[in-house]
């Protein structure tokens, strides 16, 4: 057989079946076919694909792996190890061991395949269409990124500690705050999300906690009794940044529930409680199914009750916390804040019950410690 440019489908199929002890007309051509396969990547790939189909050892390779993966067996490596492995990293230098396991594991094999597909160079027409539609592919966007990275880099060296950095803001509020806010706003202008704002607000809360009430998703922070509330003379850079984003986005999308929520949270941090409660009441009516909104509203009432010692606001906050805890008794933020509300009414029995429950389930050591301290104080009375 004269060596052809490529093998035709029949030859591919026949070769994929080769190995049979029965002589076939293809046997005589085998050396030429194998010589061709030695040189032709395309035909090699076709032959192997044909054999793979014939073996049918695996499932449908086009099916996507679902987001929630099965928990691994004790022998299975962590998903992060598999991801790094697919990318070509093996810091533990145990490639042989990993290969041996992954090649035979019904959980790790598909995970590895998923990541190798994600990391491959191949792009579908749809991928290319998405990429060409992305702003981040444009020189203008990339220029902004470069400017922001340069600004961030210059601020990092020489580097004052974060604590003194914030004091410098307080000493030169107007110029530095504006410059920093502008630089950050340029960088972040296309990536503001409500989730990002929530993180900023949580950081502002923890950095400079001015309320007894516990803020959703915020790490524990010590009450700052020296500075007082988030007043105009001192504002956290996190809060400033959050406000800048919210102001811009609310203008573009004033009815968006997520943005209204974070706007209200920002107002709560600044003790602007009437507008916060008004906004939250409106959005809760629109979306009563969203527990997070109800929780925010409950906390806003609690804060206003503390501010003005208003019993009705305490009761309103209690009613909302009860509603939340009825659906989710282990909601730690609601439990913490309800205990505070009971303390103020006062209903020490119920407050102590809530602190006791919270101490059993609270995972954050800071919050757990505060709960214990509050319980101890009540028990001493």
């Amino acid at each position: 057989m004269k060596q052809q440019e490529h093998l035709n489908d029949t030859q591919i199929e026949q070769y994929a079946r080769t190995g049979s002890a029965v002589a076939s007309e293809s046997d005589g051509n085998r050396p030429q076919i194998e010589a061709h396969l030695e040189d032709c990547a395309s035909c090699r790939e076709r032959v192997l694909a044909s054999v793979r189909m014939r073996f049918s050892l695996a499932g449908d390779f086009s099916v996507k792996v679902p987001p929630n993966l099965d928990p691994p067996d004790p022998d299975c490596p962590d998903e992060d190890v598999l991801r790094n492995f697919a990318a070509g990293n093996n810091p533990a230098n145990d490639a042989a061991k990993l290969l041996d396991h992954i090649s035979r594991c019904d959980r790790c094999g598909p995970v590895l395949r998923m990541y190798t597909e994600d990391f491959s160079d191949e792009l579908t027409a749809d991928d290319m269409a998405v990429l060409s539609g992305m702003k981040s592919s444009s020189p203008a966007w990339q220029k902004e990124v470069v400017e922001a990275m340069s600004v961030a880099s210059s601020k990092s060296s020489p580097e004052p500690s974060k604590k003194t950095f914030s004091w410098q803001w307080a000493l030169v509020p107007g110029v530095l705050a504006t410059c920093a806010a502008v630089a950050l706003a340029v960088w972040y202008q296309q990536r503001e999300t409500p989730e990002k704002v929530e993180r900023l607000l949580a950081q502002a809360y923890t950095q400079h906690r001015t309320m007894d009430a516990r803020f959703p998703d915020a790490a524990w922070g010590r009450m700052d009794v020296t500075q007082g509330r988030q007043s105009e003379s001192f504002q956290s850079p996190f809060l400033l940044e959050a406000e800048a984003i919210v102001d811009q986005r609310i203008q573009k999308d004033p009815e968006n529930v997520e943005w209204l929520r974070v706007k209200a949270q920002s107002e709560m941090l600044q003790w602007h409680l009437d507008p916060a409660i008004e906004s939250l009441t409106t959005v809760v009516q629109k979306r009563p199914d969203l527990t997070g909104l109800t929780l925010d509203l409950a906390i806003a009432y609690l804060q206003r009750a503390e501010q003005s010692n208003n019993r009705r606001d305490y009761e309103q906050s209690l009613s909302l916390f009860n509603q939340i805890l009825k659906e989710n008794p282990s909601n730690e933020v609601a439990l913490f804040n309800r205990a505070l509300a009971y303390e103020q009414l006062p209903d020490n029995t119920k407050a102590m019950a809530d602190w006791t429950s919270l101490i059993k389930t609270e995972r954050d050591s800071g919050w757990a410690k505060e709960a214990r301290e509050r319980l101890d104080k009540l028990q001493e009375r």
Binding site: V65, N84, D100, R104, V130, K135, R191
Partner: protein, 224 residues
């Protein structure tokens, strides 16, 4: 020296130590396509990748790189040129996954709607009917018995892994070649597969995998 000529390590050092905008420009120029590509393909696991979402997550990736005084970049230990590309792939993939998993769990946990999130895909399809699964298992065992006869050959463990990664796990030859510990080109992987496939076919057709009727071209069955 032109920044475009710098190695990855040199470029990284220049970016982190000198704050040179030209260096950062080269950084973005060089690595932006990779980051964007990984983000788009990773999003596709969860939902159709809208350009706006992809842009957002590309930005998140940069934030992660520069966060906390460029901690991730400063910590990175560049062993070889490709290591940084691998590092960026993992960071970008992580960003996308964190985004969707936190939206996924917050949708369940806090009552907040993750309205834009679609979960796609179903369970990995395998032969779920018991007869098909049993047949598959028998075939796998038979093939493994054949492969085992090569146990004493050099590179047996690697070659066996290549075989199963391709035929059972569905990786491409290219993907296999790029894995740590393989040490072969794509052609090398394919040649290994072809040799082992021929060997297994002959072994199975010979009727036993107990080594007594070894295929005639055993010496060429494994590559070195």
């Amino acid at each position: 020296m032109k920044v475009s000529k710098l190695s990855t390590q040199e470029l990284l050092r220049l970016c982190l130590e000198s704050n040179d905008p030209e260096a950062w420009q080269e950084f973005v120029r060089r690595f932006q396509p990779l980051i964007a590509r990984i983000v788009v393909k990773s999003i596709r696991r969860w939902t159709h990748p809208a350009p706006s979402l992809a842009d957002e997550l590309v930005q998140e990736t940069y934030v992660k790189l520069i966060d906390n005084d460029y901690r991730a970049l400063r910590k990175f230990d560049l062993q070889h040129e490709n290591a940084f590309f691998a590092f960026l792939k993992v960071v970008a993939s992580n960003v996308v996954q964190d985004h969707f998993r936190s939206s996924y769990s917050s949708k369940r946990g806090s009552g907040r709607a993750a309205e834009d999130i679609e979960t796609v895909g179903t369970s990995v399809a395998t032969n779920t009917d018991s007869a098909g699964a049993a047949e598959r298992r028998i075939l796998i065992n038979e093939i493994q018995r054949c492969l085992e006869t090569l146990r004493n050959e050099p590179n047996f463990a690697r070659d066996q892994a290549i075989f199963w990664l391709y035929y059972e796990q569905g990786l491409t030859a290219k993907a296999i070649a790029e894995l740590p510990g393989i040490g072969l080109t794509v052609k090398g992987v394919e040649s290994t597969l072809l040799r082992l496939t021929r060997y297994v076919r002959e072994c199975m057709n010979a009727g036993s995998g107990d080594g007594q009727n070894k295929p005639s071209n055993r010496a060429s069955a494994t590559g070195g």
